[in-house]
Symmetry: C2
C-alpha cells in the first residue's frame, strides 16, 4: 500500500486512496450524493461498501480546477473479499497457484498477519474497479437530478454515468516510491538486462507485463537471424542466389518461435495466476445500446440488440468500407510506382548525386503516406466498430483488430508483394523494404513516445512551477499529485504496440531473405522500443487499470496467420531464385510443381508441429491436473459425507416401507 | 430396471443383476472370498458397497460350464450416489441439463417417487463398472492366495486381477424386453426411417449412439452428391471435361458437412448430457507396467514408466516399422501395376469376352490383398502400441488410430494417387476406384456382420436345443441367459466402424468426380451398413458398457485432415482437366499458377470457415453460459454469506485492535 498519502474519511479515520473518480464540474448535487451513498452502502443493501471521500485541495487558488474529484479506497477486509469475488489466484503454501478464498487465507504463502501487504496496489485498484463496475441500480428509475438518464434494476451505475458524461474519468493513482524503483530497474540503467517482468506485472498488471515479455522474447528470437544476416549483408550484397538458405531458415524460424512463445506465455501466466483463472461474466460495454429486454443467460434486464441488424451493418457497411479503403490503398500504391518510374527515368538520363538521393524520395513519401493512411483508417475503424454496436468489449476488440489488421497488412505489404511477384525486381524490393522499415520505425518512435513525452514535460513544468514554491524537495501533496495525474494522457491499451510488432514481424518473416539487415534493424528498433515504451508507461500516461491476461489473445492468432503467409512467400521466393531455377533448366512447370509440393509439405509439417508441441509445458500441466484432481476428490468427499446424511433419511423411509420395494 | 430377473442376496432379499463377473474356473477360494468381501464392504471401509451373488444354475448337468460366475447389482440408493460420483448429467426441471446431485434429486425432471426409473439400465451398469474400477487396494500386499500378484495401496483391484487373468471377463447383461423393442424400431421394419438415436443411446450409451448418428448424417450428406452423380454417370460417361464442376462441388461439400456435423454432434451431446460433463481423472490402463513410484498429480503410488523410454520405442521401433509397412504396400502396388499392364497386353493382343473379364481381375486381387494387409497390419499396430506402454487408454487409442490411419490411407489410396497424378489415366482411375470400392464393401459386410451372425446363430441353436426341452415359449432362466451372453463375441469398440467410414469418405471426397457413381455406391453401402451394424450390436455381440462421449473424438480430426487433402486433390484434378487446360493454350506455367493460387484461396477460406462457424449452436451456447453464470452467482452468494461470518470475527479483532491499523 502507498505510504504517505491518505484521505480523511467522513468519520475521521483515514484510508489510503487508490482510485480517482472525476465527475463533471457541473454535476448536480443530488446525483453526487446519491452516487457516494451507493458506493458507501453495505453490500447487503446493494452498495459497494467502499470508502470514498472528496479531494480537499490544500490550495484552492486556481479557479479552473475541477472541484468534483473523489478518492476511492477500501478497508483491507473489503479488499480481501473483493479478491475472492474477482477470483484472484495467489501462491499457496505448497507452491501451486490457487484461487484465493478468505476462509483459506492463512494457507496462502504471502499472507502474513492481517494480510496488509498481501495484495499489490494494482490488484487493489483492479478490485475496486470491479466492485464499482458491478455496482448495480436497484429501484432507481433514473439518476437523481437527471430524469433523462434512465436506469433499470441491474444496470451498472458507473457505466451509465460514464456513457452519459457525468463521470469524466476514473483512473488508479500512481505510487511514486514504487514507480521510482520500477523505473530504475526498468530503463534508467543503461546496461543490457532482462526486463523486470515480475515488477512490471506487480505495478501494471498481467496484460502489460505480457506485452513486454513478448517484446523481449521477440527481440531475443530475432538475434540468431540478425547474426546470420550480417555476413549475408556484408559478403553477398548483390548475390540474390544465396538467399535460398536464408529463406529456408526464415520459414522454420517463424514457426518455431511462435510455438515456443505459447509455452513461455503459459509459464508466465501460471506464475502470475491468470492461466486457469475463470473469466467473470462479461458486462455489456458502456456504449452498447438497444431495446430493454431480458438477457437469456443472466435473466437480468438489459438492452438487447438483434444480431441480424448487427450483421447487416457489418456486411452492408463495414465490409464495403474496408474494401473501398483497400482499393484506395492500391491506388496510392500505383501512384507510388509511377513516381518511382519517373524518378528512375530522371536518374537514368543524367545520374548525379542528387538524382541518386532522389531515388529514395518516392519510397520515403510512400512510407509517410502509409503511416498517415493507417492512422486515419484506425479512427474510421474504431468509429465503425463502435457503430456496429457489439454487446461485449471483447467482441468489439476482435472486430476492431480484424479490420485494422487487414488494412495495415495490405497497406504495408501490398507494394512489396507487387514488387516481389509481379515486377520480380529484387533490387527494388530490397530498397523499398529498407526505406519502409526505417521510415516507419523513425515515425513510430517519434509519434509514440518522444512527442507525448515532450508534451508531458512541458505540462509538468508548468504544473510544477506552481507547486514548487511551497515544496522544495518534498513530495507533492495528494491534491497536486491527483491533479497532475488527471492531466496526463490516457493509455489506450496494448493494441498499437502489438500492431507495430506485428508489422515488424511481417517485414522480417516475409522478405528478410532479400534484405538480411532487416532483422538487425528490427532488433535495434525493439531495444529502443523497450526503453521508449517503459518511459511512456512510467512518465507519460496515467496509470492504467491492470488487465488480467493469460495470453496475448487474438494477437497469437494474427502472428500465426502471418507465419503461414511467410511460409508461402518464402517458398515462392525460393522458387524464383536463379539458383533453384538452374536445377530445372528445361521446364518451368517442373520447378513450380516441386516448389508447390515442398510448400504443401512444409505447411503440413507446420500444422502437425502446432498440434504436437504441447501449448503448456509439462511441469505446469502436472500442477494444473493436480489442482483439478484435488477439487474432484474434494467433491467426492462432500458426496460421501452427504451420502451418510442421505443414508439416515433413507433408513427411515425404508423402515416405513415407502421406499424401494424390490422387483419380483 | 429389468423385470423378471433377480438374484437372491445372501440375506435372502433379491436384487436385479446388472453386471456379470466371470472369474477363472480354478481361482483359489480365498481370492474369491476376498474379492466378494471388498465389493460388498461399506464405502467408509473402502469397499464398493455393491450387491454381488454367485450365479446358481438351475441345471448343473453340464460339467464344462464355469462355476465361477458372479452377478453384481446395487441398491437404488447406491446407484444414485454413484450417479453423482461419475458426474452424470440429467435433465433439470427447467429443461437444462445439469450435473445430478442426490441433495437436489427432486428437482430433476424424470425423478419420480423413489427414483426407481430415473437411471437407465445402461447408466446403472456404467456406474457399477466405474465403482468396480475405482475399488482400490488398501493394506493388501498381494491378492490373497496369489503371493505373486502384488498390490499396493491405491491400485485398482479389478484392473490387477483382470491383467493377471483371474478375472476372465466383465460384461453388462442384455435386457431382452428392451432389446426386442429397440431392434424392432431399429432394423426390423423395412421402411426408411431415422435411426432411433435416443433409444440407442438409452440402451448402448452415448459413444455408440454418436457413431450411428454420424453414420446416418454422413449418409444424408451424401445424397445430394449421389443425386448429382447419377446424371453425370448417365450422360457424360466418357466426358472427363465436365468433371470440373463436380470437383468444385466436392470441395465445398466436404468442408461444409464436417462443420455442420460438429454442431449437430454438440446438440446431441447436450441433449444426452455429455457435452459439459467433466472427465474423471484417468486411471492407468490395465496393461500398463513400470517401476512403482508416486504419481505427481494424484500423489498416489502407481507404476511409473519414463517418457524417454517410450519415445525411444516409438521413434526407434514403431516409426521404422510403419515406414517399412508403407514401403511394402508400395511394393505390392507396383506388382499390381505390372499385373495390370500384363493383362492389358493380353487383352490387346486378342480381345475376347474372357480377356475383358480378365481386365478386372488384377484390381479385384489387389483389393483383396489390401484388405488382408490392413487386417494383418491392424494386429501388428495393436501389438506395437501396447508394447509402447502408454499410461492412459486415451493416449493408447490415439497412437493406435494414428498408426492404423496412416497405413490404411496409404494402402487404399496410394494406387489411386499414382494413377491420377503420375499415370494421368482417368479411365484406369475410374475402373480402379470402382473395383476397390465395390470389392472392399462386399468383403467388409461379410467379415463384419454376416460371418459373425452366422457363427452366432449356429452357437445359439446348439445352446437353445439344450434349453428348449424345458421351456416352450417362456423366457430363458437367468443362468442360461448369462451363459448364452458369456459365449457371445465381445464388441471391441467403434474403431473399425469409424475406420470404414473414413475410407469411404476418402473415396468419395477425393476421386468421386471421375467416378460420380461412387457416392451412390457409398449411400447404398451405408444403408446396408446401418442394418448390419444394428444387427451385430443386438444379436452378435455381448452388450458393451456404455461409453459417455461428447463427440467422435480423434475421428473429427481425421475426417478434417481428409477434407484438406480432398481440397488439394480436387484442385489438382481440376487443373488437369482438358476443359481448364484449354483456357491456357500457350503456357502450362500460368495454368499451374492459377490452380495453385485458387487452391491456396480455398484452403484459406476453409480455415476461416472452420474458425467462423461456431462449433456449438447458439441456443445451446446460451444454455451453457446460463449454467456457468448461475454457478458463478452461487459462488458469490457463498462468499458474501461467508463475508458476514468473517465480518463478525473481524469486528472482534478490530475491537481488540489487533487487526489493521491504518497507515499514516
Amino acid at each position: 500500500m502507498q505510504k504517505g498519502l491518505s484521505v480523511s474519511d467522513s468519520d475521521g479515520s483515514t484510508f489510503a486512496p487508490l482510485v480517482v473518480l472525476e465527475l463533471a464540474p457541473n454535476t448536480k448535487e443530488e446525483a453526487v450524493e446519491w452516487l457516494l451513498k451507493r458506493i458507501r452502502d453495505k453490500q447487503q443493501d446493494g452498495g459497494a461498501e467502499l470508502l470514498v471521500e472528496k479531494l480537499s485541495p490544500e490550495d484552492q487558488s486556481t479557479e479552473k480546477d475541477n472541484p468534483n474529484v473523489y478518492m476511492v479506497g477500501a478497508s483491507m477486509r473489503r479488499l480481501l473479499f473483493g479478491a475472492e469475488d474477482v477470483g484472484l489466484f495467489k501462491e499457496f503454501n505448497d507452491g501451486t497457484m490457487r484461487s484465493f478464498t478468505c476462509a483459506n487465507r492463512h494457507n496462502f504463502k504471502e499472507f502474513q498477519g492481517d494480510g496488509d501487504s498481501f495484495l499489490s496496489m494494482a490488484e487493489c485498484q483492479y478490485i475496486i474497479k470491479h466492485e464499482l463496475d458491478t455496482l448495480r441500480a436497484k429501484g432507481e428509475a433514473h439518476v437523481p437530478g437527471y430524469p433523462k438518464m434512465k436506469l433499470y434494476p441491474g444496470k451498472s451505475v458507473i457505466r451509465r454515468i460514464q456513457s452519459k458524461g457525468i463521470l469524466v474519468q476514473i483512473f488508479p493513482l500512481h505510487e511514486n516510491e514504487e514507480l521510482k524503483r520500477l523505473s530504475f530497474s526498468w530503463y534508467k540503467q543503461f546496461k543490457l538486462s532482462f526486463q523486470p517482468l515480475d515488477d512490471i506485472r506487480h505495478y501494471f498488471g498481467e496484460g502489460l507485463a505480457l506485452y513486454f515479455a513478448f517484446l523481449e522474447y521477440f527481440t531475443f528470437a530475432l538475434i540468431p537471424m540478425a547474426i546470420i544476416g550480417i555476413p549475408y549483408y556484408l559478403f553477398d550484397w548483390e548475390d540474390y542466389d544465396k538467399y535460398t538458405v536464408f529463406a529456408g531458415f526464415n520459414l522454420v524460424w517463424c514457426t518455431v518461435i511462435l510455438e515456443l512463445w505459447k509455452r513461455l506465455s503459459a509459464s508466465l501466466a501460471y506464475r502470475w495466476g491468470t492461466l486457469s483463472r475463470k473469466k467473470a461474466f462479461e458486462e455489456p460495454r458502456p456504449g452498447f445500446h438497444g431495446i430493454l429486454g431480458f438477457n437469456p443467460v443472466t435473466g437480468r434486464e438489459e438492452p438487447l440488440y438483434p444480431n441480424f441488424k448487427r450483421q447487416l451493418r457489418i456486411y452492408l457497411v463495414s465490409v464495403p468500407f474496408v474494401l473501398l479503403c483497400l482499393y484506395l490503398s492500391l491506388y496510392v500504391m500505383m501512384i507510388y510506382f509511377e513516381m518511382e518510374g519517373w524518378v528512375l527515368m530522371i536518374h537514368d538520363e543524367e545520374p548525379t548525386f542528387w538524382t541518386g538521393v532522389l531515388l529514395f524520395i518516392p519510397s520515403v513519401i510512400y512510407a509517410v503516406v502509409i503511416e498517415i493512411m493507417n492512422l486515419i483508417y484506425r479512427y474510421a475503424a474504431e468509429y465503425l466498430t463502435n457503430w456496429e454496436n457489439h454487446r461485449l468489449e471483447s467482441t468489439f476488440q476482435n472486430h476492431l483488430v480484424l479490420k485494422v489488421l487487414v488494412f495495415n497488412f495490405f497497406n504495408c505489404f501490398a507494394s512489396l508483394f507487387y514488387i516481389a511477384f509481379v515486377m520480380q525486381d529484387m533490387g527494388l524490393l530490397r530498397q523499398s523494404l529498407a526505406t519502409l522499415l526505417i521510415t516507419s520505425q523513425i515515425l513510430n518512435q517519434i509519434m509514440e513516445a518522444f512527442l507525448p513525452y515532450w508534451l508531458q514535460r512541458r505540462r509538468n513544468k508548468k504544473a510544477h512551477r506552481r507547486v514548487i514554491k511551497t515544496l522544495a524537495d518534498k513530495e507533492l501533496p495528494l491534491s497536486d499529485q491527483v491533479k497532475l495525474e488527471a492531466d496526463m494522457s490516457t493509455y489506450l491499451g496494448t493494441f498499437d504496440d502489438y500492431l507495430e510488432l506485428f508489422l515488424l514481424f511481417g517485414y522480417v518473416s516475409l522478405f528478410s531473405c532479400v534484405y538480411p539487415l532487416a532483422a538487425v534493424l528490427v532488433v535495434l528498433n525493439n531495444v529502443t522500443e523497450m526503453y521508449s515504451d517503459a518511459l511512456k508507461m512510467c512518465k507519460v500516461f496515467k496509470r492504467p487499470f491492470s488487465e488480467p491476461a493469460a495470453d496475448v489473445g487474438v494477437w497469437q492468432l494474427a502472428f500465426e496467420a502471418m507465419s503461414v503467409i511467410a511460409v508461402v512467400t518464402n517458398c515462392a521466393l525460393i522458387g524464383m531464385s536463379p539458383q533453384v531455377k538452374s536445377y530445372f533448366p528445361e521446364s518451368d512447370t517442373q520447378l513450380i510443381m516441386w516448389v508447390v509440393a515442398g510448400e504443401h509439405l512444409l505447411l503440413a509439417v507446420k500444422f502437425i508441429l502446432t498440434f504436437v508441441i504441447p501449448d503448456i509445458p509439462k511441469n505446469i500441466q502436472i500442477k494444473l491436473s493436480r489442482l483439478e484432481f484435488e477439487s474432484l476428490e474434494a467433491l467426492k468427499k462432500r458426496v460421501s459425507t452427504a451420502s451418510l446424511a442421505f443414508n439416515d433419511t433413507l433408513k427411515i423411509l425404508v423402515e416405513s416401507s415407502v421406499f424401494f420395494t424390490p422387483d419380483t
